[in-house]
Amino acid sequence: MRAVTLLLWAILLVAGVALEILGRRRLGELVPLDRALQRLRSVAIGRAALVLAWMWLGWHLFAR
């Protein structure tokens, strides 16, 4: 079961990398991650959600 879970994580990671590469090559309407996040940052609620996610991630990884 661990192998299956790791394989699925790897597929998701590869999918993210592929999206980034295709976005940078401007394939179709795909965009790189920073540009997608830029749009989210441009609205107050989007920025607040990103900041909250960032806070949770740091606290979860480094403190608790």
């Binding site: 079961m1 661990r2 879970t5 790791l6 699925l8 994580w9 998701l12 999918a15 993210g16 999206l19 976005g23 179709g28 309407e29 795909l30 965009v31 991650l33 540009r35 997608a36 830029q38 749009r39 940052r41 441009s42 920025r47 990103l50 900041v51 960032w54 806070m55 991630l57 740091g58 606290w59 979860h60 990884l61 480094f62 403190a63 608790r64």
Partner: protein
């Protein structure tokens, strides 16, 4: 090409972030030290971000408004679908036992966070990402 000399507040902030990363790297989670170093990074980054945001707002008020950022819908939807898949799989693993068979992102990252140098790099990257969130959109 011209090199821009960073201002002293920028140097001070980068120095403080680097120092906090190094101190955080030598601590272990679930300790007061980890709580304090993470909280310092968190509060410091948000404070710096707010200063940057206020400066940008002031500058924007003085200059004519720029056009809105147009994001093709398919581009945003693809990333949203990817993020949703990550969150769904993370939750599935989180609520399924045992952790050794169903590792979550943090349990996989513990390989990195368990090593002091990698932990410092990851902490500094986290601070950098937090600061980037406050930049101009």
């Amino acid at each position: 090409m011209s090199l821009r000399i960073p201002s002293w507040p920028a140097v001070a902030v980068i120095g403080a972030a680097a120092a906090d990363s190094v101190v955080a790297a030598t601590g272990q989670p679930f300790t007061w030290r980890a709580d304090i170093t993470t909280a310092l990074g968190l509060v410091g980054t948000i404070a710096c971000g707010l200063v940057v945001l206020l400066r940008q707002r002031r500058r924007a008020a003085e200059s004519p408004p720029a056009g809105a950022i147009a994001l093709p819908t398919a581009g945003g939807a693809a990333w949203a679908a990817w993020a949703a898949a990550i969150v769904a799989f993370e939750l599935l693993n989180f609520y399924t036992a045992p952790r050794s068979r169903h590792p979550t992102i943090s349990s996989l990252l513990s390989i990195l966070t368990g090593h002091e140098v990698l932990r410092a790099v990851l902490f500094a990257a986290w601070l950098g990402a937090g600061y980037w969130l406050w930049g101009s959109a």
